[in-house]
């Protein structure tokens, strides 16, 4: 995987790292405020707020069942909140639908990858770039030059995204024939092909090995040059080293929010979840990630 940014971005040493934090709250790119979701008698999210600033990597963590995926589903319009609003650039999104996200510059990867198994890697990624198409049905039916030019442009976008994610060499292959780690990068390439300003990553590190996770961390930091990222993951080392700010959920409520070191020392977080994980992470003695040195 090559770092797409121009500056050197490894771990937290990069100069552009956390530049979003010190500033006096720039207008959030994407904000969720006071969102409550109930499934029958169960409250999955209770008055949850979260603001993503431009070029920020924002982590969402919490124990299993804390509501992380539900929060993502609310952001994508798959789940309607019972209360609260979602806004983009300060404008409330009243009728959020999944198919409108791509057009608004929001891309998401799925936990289950959701690759199209009957499409080649290139075609998969081209679907991700589909929001940039310009020609319509008639030009496709008659194979007019406009349609051909459109296809070339989409192919080029797909190619760039595949090169960024390091899967260009698998262009003609079908996803089912590729190792899981490569499939994950194809899914990432598909999201990048939409050229999003906000990228939602749902457990990007699950199923990856140790080296692949560090690689992913560097890659995500590099992406922050181009977009904001919201990251849900269980790998504490990754989240602590990559994120500018972290929101911690427990039983559907926000129990802590702030910079990684603040969050890590918060007693509520230690209670809920982190204590056990942080100790385990510290005893691993992770190189390259200094997330446990505080």
């Amino acid at each position: 995987m090559t770092s797409p940014g121009t500056s050197e971005t490894t771990g937290r040493a990069g100069t552009g790292h956390r530049h979003a934090r010190g500033r006096p709250d720039p207008a959030p790119l994407f904000a969720v405020s006071g969102v409550t979701v109930r499934f029958g008698g169960l409250t999955a999210l209770d008055d949850v707020s979260l603001a993503v600033r431009p070029h920020e990597v924002h982590g969402v963590i919490g124990p299993n069942g804390a509501g992380k995926t539900t929060l993502f589903n609310v952001c994508c319009g798959f789940v309607r909140p019972d209360a609260g609003t979602i806004s983009r650039h300060g404008t409330p999104l009243t009728d959020l639908r999944p198919h409108r996200l791509a057009g608004m510059g929001v891309a998401r990867t799925l936990q289950g990858l959701g690759l199209f198994r009957g499409l080649t890697v290139t075609e998969n990624v081209m679907v991700g770039a589909d929001r940039f198409r310009r020609s319509g049905f008639v030009s496709a039916l008659l194979a007019l030059p406009r349609s051909a030019a459109d296809e070339r442009a989409l192919r080029e976008r797909a190619w760039r995204a595949m090169s960024d994610a390091g899967v260009a060499e698998f262009a003609g292959r079908y996803p089912g024939s590729l190792p899981y780690a490569v499939q994950k990068r194809v899914a990432l390439a598909r999201a990048l092909a939409a050229d999003p300003e906000l990228l939602l990553l749902d457990e990007p590190a699950s199923g990856l090995g140790h080296d692949e996770i560090s690689e992913l961390g560097a890659f995500v930091r590099g992406l922050a040059e181009r977009m904001s990222i919201v990251l849900v993951d269980h790998h504490m080392d990754l989240v602590m080293s990559v994120c500018d700010r972290i929101t911690v959920l427990d039983f559907g409520r926000v129990v802590a929010a702030g910079a990684p070191e603040e969050v890590r020392d918060d007693p509520a977080v230690v209670d809920a979840y982190l204590g056990e994980e942080a100790h385990r992470g510290g005893s691993d003695g992770n190189d390259g990630n200094d997330g446990n040195d505080g």
Binding site: C76, F78, P98, H99, R100, L101, A102, G103, A107, R108, L110, G114, L115, F116, R117, G118, L119, T120, V121, T122, E123, N124, M126, V127, G128, D130, R131, R133, S135, F137, A140, L141, L142, A143, L144, S147, A148, D150, E151, L154, A168, E169, F170, A171, G172, R173, R190, A194
Partner: protein
Amino acid sequence: MPDSVTAAARRLLPSSVLGRNLLGVLAGLLVVVVVLELTGPFRNSQFATMSYYAIAAVGLTVLTGLNGQISLGHGALMAVGAYTTGLLLETGAVPFPVAMLAAAAVTALAGVVVGAAAARLHGPYLAGATLALAVGVPGLAIYFDGVFGGEQGLRVSSPRPPDWLADAVYFVTAGDLTSARYLAYIGWITLLAVLLLLANLTASRYGRIWRAVRDDEVAAELAGVRLGRMRVLAFVVSAACAGLGGAVLAMVVRLAAPSGFTIVLSLSLLTAVVVGGLGSLTGALLGSALLVFLPPAVTGLGTDLGLTGTQAAELAPLVYGVVLVVVMLVAPGGVLGAVHRLRHAWTRRRQGARDVGAVGSSKQGG
């Protein structure tokens, strides 16, 4: 050496989608002319029959193979096209190409309605709903017998070859342009036009998005695809093809009657598509050929083996059923899927352990 030959051949082919598809269709037209001119009226009418099955089948393979929606109601959509053609030709004021286009348009409109309902249904529910269509539409023809002619159906006056065309053909081939041959030409030229348009579509963004929707709805939706709209579009394209197939059927059979559009027709189309290879236009052609030419061949074989006429005639559906079961067991990808697999195995053996992943170009599936 064969590699350099295929590379040279590939250079000669046009690089654009339209150029490639046009070339294919022109080659097909040449074959059609030669075959129809060299065969007699009986074979001509068999080819005409194959053409209307194939027109509907290629439309169905786009819907079922590419978009993953099953339809047991395409026979009913063919009926819509056939009755539209019959009613328009009855007036005597409408030339047959206009009647055919109108049939496609009316059926496409019916496709919007059915497709909008179908887009919300999946699997067995979709099969059930379209099955209801197959059962219900012929019933409508009986109920409104004043317009549609009831059980007897509508007699359709088939177009006759214009004199100038008959003269021109006689001048070129020294053979008569019989009515059967003329109808076969109409059917096959329609089929080739449909193939050209569908090949364009499947190679375009629409083919890709249809397949994406089939494979993973959530991921497609997140990429900005409007699932319902794309499903309805696939249904409309497929219905327009069925309507055109019905129009050709009406002119070839010279009749549009409820007995011609039973559930058996819908099932035959579906088996043709599956046997040939789901999602492939060529596969749908193969399946339609099998549908038309296999039963008479089996019946002929039966009579040769000393069976009575009735016994031989009953042998045909049996063999067709056996072929279907065998194909499903041995080659779930249909005839074409099996061919692809064999070719793949062959090239892989030739290439040895050469890494397939190094091939950077991707090919569109057709």
